[in-house]
């Protein structure tokens, strides 16, 4: 069964970051995620959505429910058409920021979810997909 797309959001401002993390919280609550599980997912969402706004010039977030056997989860795809990331390995490192950030967003988001995938092309954009199982 193909995953059910729940929603797609446009994320351009810090207000949109708040909206999208609240939507993710809602969905995780509906699926019965534990409080810690919810909080980890939503924090990762906040980091990736902010990156899109700050570094990627804004983009879209797709939210879907995924199933693996009896397992249910939430998958989010963050896609922008910004400058892209020239060196993903470096960008993933804790403490590396192209600006004045703490440089924890990407590495931290990866630790907070079960599955993390990043594809980026310089001048074309970046797509990050995360999944957290219940």
């Amino acid at each position: 069964m193909p995953p059910k797309v729940r929603d797609t959001f446009t994320v351009r401002s810090d207000h949109d970051v708040v909206t999208v993390r609240q939507k993710a919280r809602q969905l995780a609550t509906e699926l019965g995620f534990s409080l810690v599980n919810q909080t980890k997912l939503v924090t990762a969402v906040s980091e990736l959505a902010r990156n899109m706004v700050v570094w990627g010039g804004g983009g879209t977030v797709r939210m879907e429910i995924v199933k693996n056997g009896a397992l249910q989860g939430v998958r989010l795809t963050f896609e922008d058409h910004g400058r892209g990331i020239p060196d993903i390995e470096q960008a993933m490192k804790d403490g590396y920021s192209g600006g004045s950030g703490l440089g924890l967003g990407l590495g931290g988001a990866k630790r907070l979810v079960d599955e993390f995938d990043i594809v980026s092309r310089v001048g074309k954009g970046t797509r990050v997909t995360i999944t957290r199982w219940k």
């Binding site: 810090d14 970051v17 993390r21 409080l35 810690v36 919810q38 909080t39 924090t43 924890l104 907070l112």
Partner: protein
């Protein structure tokens, strides 16, 4: 623009963050707090985050900035009421809250802040020989 209120209670300022802050709101709070510390000559700041169900790297950075800035203005800061799920998430995110003092709830925080400020007043007092 909406603002996070800052209340004065005796020598202390109290900031209770009740909403899911967008970044601009957090930055405005940081500015307002600096202004209020100077204006009221507060010796301590209590930041209550018990309503927050999420603290990401940006919010953590703002909390750290506020603590550091208050210290430069001669005020101690205490962050109170962090939810357990938030604390567990912060650890995994890799955010270090080094330099940020915390207490379980506002009441404990207030007592601790009183003690810290009293201690500092004592050690800063001119010594009589």
């Amino acid at each position: 623009m909406e603002r996070i209120p800052i209340l004065k209670m005796g020598k202390f300022l109290i900031v209770s963050i009740q909403v899911d802050m967008h970044d601009e709101l957090a930055l405005a709070l940081q500015e307002d707090l600096a202004e209020q510390i100077v204006k009221t000559r507060a010796k301590g700041v209590l930041i209550d985050i018990s309503s927050l169900n999420l603290v990401d790297s940006f919010t953590a950075r703002i909390l750290g900035n506020m603590t550091a800035m208050a210290r430069l203005l001669d005020a101690e800061t205490l962050v109170v009421g962090m939810r357990p799920a938030v604390a567990m998430t912060l650890v995994e995110l890799g955010v270090s809250l080094r330099g940020i003092r915390t207490a379980g709830n506002a009441e404990k925080g207030m007592a601790l802040l009183e003690a810290i400020v009293a201690q500092q007043a004592k050690s800063n007092a001119p010594k009589s020989t």
